[in-house]
């Protein structure tokens, strides 16, 4: 199954959506208040590229995750398929 994250449709998480679009991920929605971001094998977010401050960065997956968090540190998030 493809890794997927849910992102609540609120302004502070919008950089995740914009970033995902620019890196070629599949972005759908918003539906029922959430965007979804998916990629074929692995989802990768880079904090520097998104311009997210740490407080938001550390809760950027709070909408929900389908997959396994392979890496989550100050600069990179990687979500792998189950």
């Amino acid at each position: 199954m493809m890794p997927k994250v849910y992102v609540l449709d609120v302004p502070e998480f919008r950089p995740l959506i914009d970033g995902a679009r620019s890196t070629g991920c599949t972005v759908q929605g918003p539906a029922g208040g959430y965007f979804t971001i998916a990629a074929p094998r692995e989802l990768v977010f880079a904090r520097a590229a998104l311009g997210l401050k740490p407080a938001l960065w550390y809760s950027s997956l709070s909408g929900g995750v389908e997959g396994r968090i392979a890496q989550f540190d100050r600069d990179t998030i990687r979500i792998a398929a189950w």
């Binding site: 849910y6 029922g32 208040g33 709070s62 929900g64 995750v65 389908e66 968090i69």
Partner: protein
């Protein structure tokens, strides 16, 4: 002859064939209400008609006074069929003036002393009223108000006061009665035309639209109603009725004083209802029927009956709206439920009904001539047996139309002439008869202690108040009044919630001239109105919000300190928060509780930050504050209104030598952090945006996922050590919701 001889424009008279049917059935006769009253006055001459704290009147006395009142009203320039606005509270004078009007062929408009220019101005103009009777000893200057109304409503020629001091230019009822000779009065009244099919009075509707509506009630049908009530409830000549409701209401008129005075019974008039007055009435007037209304009134009545040592067995019945079971349990007396509408329909429970009927329903119609249907709301289809539907009625006393209100009249009736009440009922068969239970309302009305408040009327007005975008009224449950008024509002851009509240609305509605009982008693500001799927304001949701108790912010947070001087000097002198309150106490009751100080600093908008200083008590190790995440989770977060204000605080703190440790933009709040001399963390934040229903739903999902994980871990399943568990569960919940 069947039918009115001299119709009044705007009054909707029932069609002749309908009247004929009720005449043939014996419900409508050639006797007028006023003639029936006069007959009773003659037959019961020496009996007591009216009793109470202000003295008694016999039927003969009441007859004489009302003859003179009727003649005096005609002498003042009023003519039969003229409309007269009433603003008299419960009193003998109200009864004398009212029956005087009936004898003079004048048509009372049943307004209240509490009404103001909005209601009186509109109704007087609408009904082209010529007379205005006001209470001279009301707290509010009704006489001055009457003079003002005369200036703004050209038809109002005659203003008369009662119960007050003499005032220049405004005649007093008492003086007019003095001047009138009984013999001349009788002669004068003999010429007044009597038509049993003519309007006798205009009652007020609870209403469903922006303006109040008038309900013409007719001489013979009103008489029929009263005779039916007396027959159905077995009112007797020796009954004494104590029903402390407004006497101008249809409920009192049609069910209490009206039938009582036709039967030769005694009606108790109490101008000021106090607990003391109730005890006095119970002792001196010895009522056989008592009106109590809601549950709380039954409790008060219990206390009064105990105080008055009411003779057991004397009271035959207690009227309530819905508290018969309670009446039996608390008072050990039969309770009688009533349901009625000024539009002319009544139901009662009575002694001979089974306990189930008496305690769980509002009764059944008094006679077979009243036809009842329960309709699927918005349709003319009957609901299935047992289902809830809108009560629609037709009968000898049910109106055929509001006064001069064509548009409303088109909506208020079914095609076959049933009046749609806007009340919801269910029917159930008990002992072979169909009884009805009240199930709520679909009309948008609040019942505040028997006064019906039409929501739309006030919502439209509040929509024009400063800063208000939209207003919606709902009733909130109240033990004493049944319901009180709660207003929900949304604000225009630039208007602060602090500018809006109960006092500002009271000032606004008073200025607009609305009766005080219509003013909201609670005001809640919403960022958006909840709406139904059709985009209309969701009043059911607002009622739910109004029925739960509300908080309005923080009064104080409190923590202990072992550094008194440093704490006071930090908050008061360095931060500049005003020290507003200090408690100093010799212990606190429990053994070993140290003496202490408890002091409060103002943190804006009515909130405070408070500390305890326990004298002579050593600081326990576990209360030593360590500057790390577990201790810092306990912190105070103050609110500022803008980003500029937040930055001002940051500069101010740094200037005062207080280190600002962090400046963080969270999801919905941007905050700065610093520490006080105790090491306690203080946050100052400003909301970056309001939360919406999206945030609320998201929060519910997050916590639902986390609680599941906790439950599973507790029961020995999967461990709960990472937020990943929550996020993964949440994704699963999304999928389940979609499915």
């Amino acid at each position: 002859m069947t039918g009115v001889t001299q119709p009044i424009a705007g009054v909707v008279y029932p069609p002749r064939e309908t009247l004929q049917r009720y005449v043939e059935a014996g419900a409508l006769t050639d006797e007028t209400w006023v003639a029936a009253l006069q007959r009773s006055f003659k037959e019961n001459g020496a009996r007591i008609a009216v009793d109470g704290p202000e003295g008694a009147l016999t039927y003969a006395q009441l007859d004489g006074l009302t003859d003179r009142a009727g003649a005096a009203l005609l002498a003042s320039g009023l003519r039969p069929l003229d409309r007269v606005v009433f603003q008299l509270g419960n009193s003998k004078e109200l009864l004398i003036a009212f029956i005087g009007c009936l004898k003079a062929g004048l048509i009372p408009i049943c307004t209240l002393a509490a009404h103001r220019e909005q209601e009186i101005g509109y109704l007087a103009r609408h009904a082209k009223a010529r007379g205005h009777l006001v209470q001279g000893d009301d707290k509010f200057d009704l006489v001055g108000f009457g003079q003002e109304m005369q200036r703004s409503v050209p038809s109002l020629d005659v203003l008369i006061s009662a119960r007050g001091p003499a005032r220049a230019d405004v005649p007093r009822l008492e003086d007019l009665l003095e001047q009138e000779l009984r013999s001349k009065a009788i002669a004068r009244l003999q010429d007044v035309p009597r038509d049993p099919f003519q309007a006798a009075l205009f009652q007020l509707s609870g209403g469903t639209t922006g303006v109040p509506k008038l309900i013409p009630r007719f001489q013979n049908e009103y008489l029929h109603t009263m005779r039916e009530v007396a027959r159905y409830l077995d009112y007797r000549r020796d009954d004494v009725m104590f029903m402390p409701l407004p006497m101008i209401h249809n409920a009192s008129m049609a069910c209490a004083w009206g039938p009582t005075l036709l039967q030769g019974g005694t009606f108790v008039v109490v101008p000021q209802i106090t607990e003391q007055a109730i005890v006095q009435v119970l002792k001196q007037c010895k009522p056989t029927w008592i009106g109590a209304g809601v549950k709380q009134a039954v409790l008060k009545l219990k206390a009064a009956m105990d105080a008055a040592q009411v003779e057991p067995g004397r009271v035959r019945g207690v009227w309530t709206i819905n508290a018969a079971k309670y009446t039996r349990e608390v008072l050990d007396l039969p309770g009688c439920h009533t349901f009625g509408m000024s539009e002319g329909f009544l139901m009662f429970t009575r002694d001979s009904d089974s306990r189930e009927a008496r305690e769980e329903t509002v009764g059944k119609p008094m006679s077979g001539l009243d036809e009842v249907r329960l309709l699927k709301p918005g349709t003319e289809m009957d609901v299935a047996p047992g289902e809830i539907g809108e009560l629609a009625v037709r009968g000898p006393s049910v109106i055929h139309g509001y006064f001069d209100a064509e548009e409303r009249n088109r909506q208020a009736f079914t095609r076959d002439g049933f009046y749609r009440s806007g009340d919801l009922m269910s029917a159930r068969v008990i002992d072979g008869a169909k009884y009805y239970a009240f199930e709520g309302r679909i009309k948008d009305v609040i019942d505040r202690g028997g006064e019906k408040v039409n929501c739309e009327e006030i919502e439209l007005a509040l929509g024009e108040a400063q800063g208000i975008a939209e207003a919606a009224l709902v009733g909130m449950p109240d033990p004493g009044l049944g319901e009180r008024i709660c207003a929900f509002v949304t604000l225009r851009p630039g208007c602060s919630p602090s500018e809006v509240g109960v006092p500002s609305f009271a000032r606004f509605l008073e200025k607009r001239g609305f009766a005080k009982f219509k003013w909201p008693e609670r005001v809640e500001v919403l960022s958006a109105m909840p709406t139904t799927k059709f985009g209309k304001i969701d009043k059911a949701e607002l009622r739910r919000l109004a029925s739960t108790p509300a908080l309005s912010g923080v009064h104080h947070t409190a923590r202990p300190t072992w550094k008194l001087r440093e704490t006071v000097e930090f908050y008061r002198d360095r931060l500049g928060l005003k020290l507003v309150h200090a408690i100093s106490a010799k212990g606190w009751g429990p053994e070993g509780h140290p003496d202490f100080l408890h002091f409060f600093f103002d943190s804006g908008d009515g909130s405070t930050i408070a500390f305890f200083y326990y004298i002579g008590a050593a600081q326990p190790e576990y209360l030593v504050h360590r500057p790390q995440w577990d201790c810092d989770s306990v912190h105070t977060a103050w609110k500022v209104r803008s980003e500029e204000e937040l930055l001002r605080w940051k500069r101010f703190l740094e200037g005062a030598g207080v280190a600002v440790d962090m400046h963080i933009r969270h999801e919905i709040v941007e905050s700065i952090y610093f520490r006080d001399p105790n090491g306690y963390l203080i946050e100052i934040g400003r909301a970056t945006r309001a939360t919406s229903v999206l945030d609320h739903r998201d929060a519910e999902l997050t916590l639902a996922a986390a609680m599941e994980a906790e439950t599973e871990a507790r029961s020995g399943g999967q461990t709960f050590t990472s937020i990943e568990t929550v996020w993964q569960r949440k994704a699963r919940l999304h999928e389940e919701l979609k499915a």
